[in-house]
Subunit: 353 residues, 2 copies
């Protein structure tokens, strides 16, 4: 590819990407915890390979479809960190994968454990019990983890351990305490396992905003996703510095209407995520004081905080609020090492089932 892609497109700074991957791998190694990155962020076999080469023990995914893509591309150890309720077809797809990779899935209730057991017994597919550490999304109460684990074992499934996602740490106020909550929930769950006569081999947690706060003594594994790219959310949470952000949307200035800066990077390429703490619809990498005031499908209207308007037709780099959402809209990431951009397929895009 010698010609630059048409804007808006997602550009990956390879040097920053590698630095982020290596820094988190080193952090995990130093803390003595395994790193199983969440591949929902990148959905890219090219990037998964970089993570595995840097020492990741396997991948985390959110759906069976993502698992299929990564197993197809040679990944041998995949955890579907989701409380799957298996339809007949979903169970068949998992059984088809079972001989090709080391697989595990999440369950968060006795009913789900029994249902999964009926579908997967004898396949070698393991389960981890999901517990709620404070996000109040899915996950059993930590004290109930042993009951769920015992039900899974009774249903004939290998029980690998327990996991949580401290998602309430996506907040400036809760970023530190969410890591405390995570450790407490997992510790309670381990006690509950032991009371049920089971020993969890894996105690898994982690997220990008809580990465530096994780109580690694309480965990055996972390599953951050966003750390390798960063985004405006991590920037605004103070979890990653703008100089580490490895993915941007390259956009063209299409209008100066009303003295405004209007870019062609709308929500159909950036995503529309806007957390309560977000200061706008995205950030400009080279204009830290600028804010995306209005984001519609194909327009980003930017307040440049008094800076001169870049000329019509010029290009700027926009940092999406939530990089997982932006990647999920793209078929291709353009990986740039300063020479010729290379296309990396977003192979698992759209694999929501």
């Amino acid at each position: 590819m010698s010609e630059a892609p048409a804007t808006p497109y997602l550009r990956v700074d390879i040097a920053r990407l590698r630095a982020n991957i290596e820094a988190t791998a080193a952090r995990a190694a130093a803390a003595g915890v395994a790193l199983r990155p969440h591949a929902k962020t990148h959905k890219s076999p090219d990037i998964a390979r970089l993570q595995l080469e840097a020492g990741a023990i396997g991948l985390t995914v959110a759906t069976i479809g993502e698992a299929e893509v990564f197993v197809e591309h040679g990944v041998e150890d995949v955890f579907v960190a989701y409380p799957l309720w298996l339809s007949d077809d979903a169970a068949r797809r998992l059984r088809d994968l079972a001989g090709r990779a080391d697989l595990a899935i999440g369950v968060d209730s006795v009913a789900a454990a029994q249902h999964a057991g009926a579908a997967l017994e004898g396949t070698g597919i393991a389960v981890l019990v999901e517990v709620d550490s404070g996000q109040h999304r899915s996950g059993a109460m930590p004290a109930d983890a042993g009951v769920v684990a015992a039900a899974a074992a009774e249903a004939g499934l290998p029980v690998r351990g327990v996991f949580t996602f401290p998602g309430h740490g996506y907040s400036p106020e809760l970023m530190v305490s969410a890591a405390d909550d995570e450790a407490a929930a997992l510790t309670t769950a381990v006690v509950a396992f032991r009371e049920a006569g089971l020993e969890p081999d894996v105690v898994s947690g982690g997220s990008t905003p809580t990465l530096t706060h994780t109580h690694t003594g309480a965990l055996t594994e972390i599953r951050p996703g966003v750390y390798l790219f960063g985004d405006a959310q991590q920037w605004e949470l103070g979890a990653m510095a703008p100089g580490s952000i490895a993915l941007t949307c390259r956009a063209t200035v299409v209008s100066h209407a009303g003295g405004r800066l209007v870019l062609d990077s709308g929500s159909k390429v950036l995503g529309a995520d806007r957390a309560p703490y977000a200061t706008g619809g995205g950030r400009l990498l080279d204009h830290p004081d600028a804010r995306v005031l209005q984001l519609s499908e194909h327009h980003a209207v930017v307040d440049l905080a008094g800076a001169a308007l870049p000329p019509l037709g010029s290009q700027v780099d926009v940092v999406p609020n939530h990089v997982c959402a932006a990647v999920n809209l793209a078929d291709t990431l353009w990986a740039d090492d300063g020479t010729t951009p290379v296309s990396w397929p977003v192979a698992a895009r759209g694999r929501n089932s």
Copy 2:
């Protein structure tokens, strides 16, 4: 396709879709305005055909990539309602299309008109001048429309007329007054054209929330997009009744953790759009009092307002907040007439350039 698709998937109720298409076509015909639906909403050649068969004069699109897809599928009249700033490659792509369809693009400044003229002179591609009617996104000031139009004519481009998008009408407070603003802006622009010695053949506006408020006497054409599906935004604005909503996301109940209803329809299938007036992350078609409290990538946590939790593994229909965003995440729409669902490709998905 005899087997039901795996959840989460987007399902189109064909009877409702046809009723919506026909009702708006009839409304436009009765008002004496042309209907040029915005195809960004559906990105589907199958649905474009239904619109054209019902009397639409052509399509509106947002990008050259969308225009390419619809021309490829035989659509003969396409307006790119966007202030394009043409790169060399974009201009080449438009020139390639020029012989195959009646094409027009937007411009919103003298500079853009001159730039487009240099690239497109002699191709027959026409321009419409975009004016700002109160959304304050792109668009020239209405009084400047004549100057921009004159610059386009001077640059050798056929000037077809003027257009606006009253996007500030996506608000319970402004839905009616935005239609007033639209009419005022377009009327001012027509005067400005005449002062520049030009007569606009097309005076174009319209949006789904303002559809019943449009001053059709001031317009020759309307370009609504969402009207054919509806979504939670239109429902909550009062612009469409839930009984008209023709697209839903079919989701599976995956967890009852903490007494919550957790569905597998996350933001990666619904989109994360949440307007200031939205009451949640989406609505449930059959539970009007329910609200999606938390929407993450693969989970929707629903407050059922006291109703009994549907069983684990059962399916419910979720109405996305913004249907354009949901469709833009899907490769396929499952069109259902009550017999066997048929797949309609979202052929222009991802065509953001």
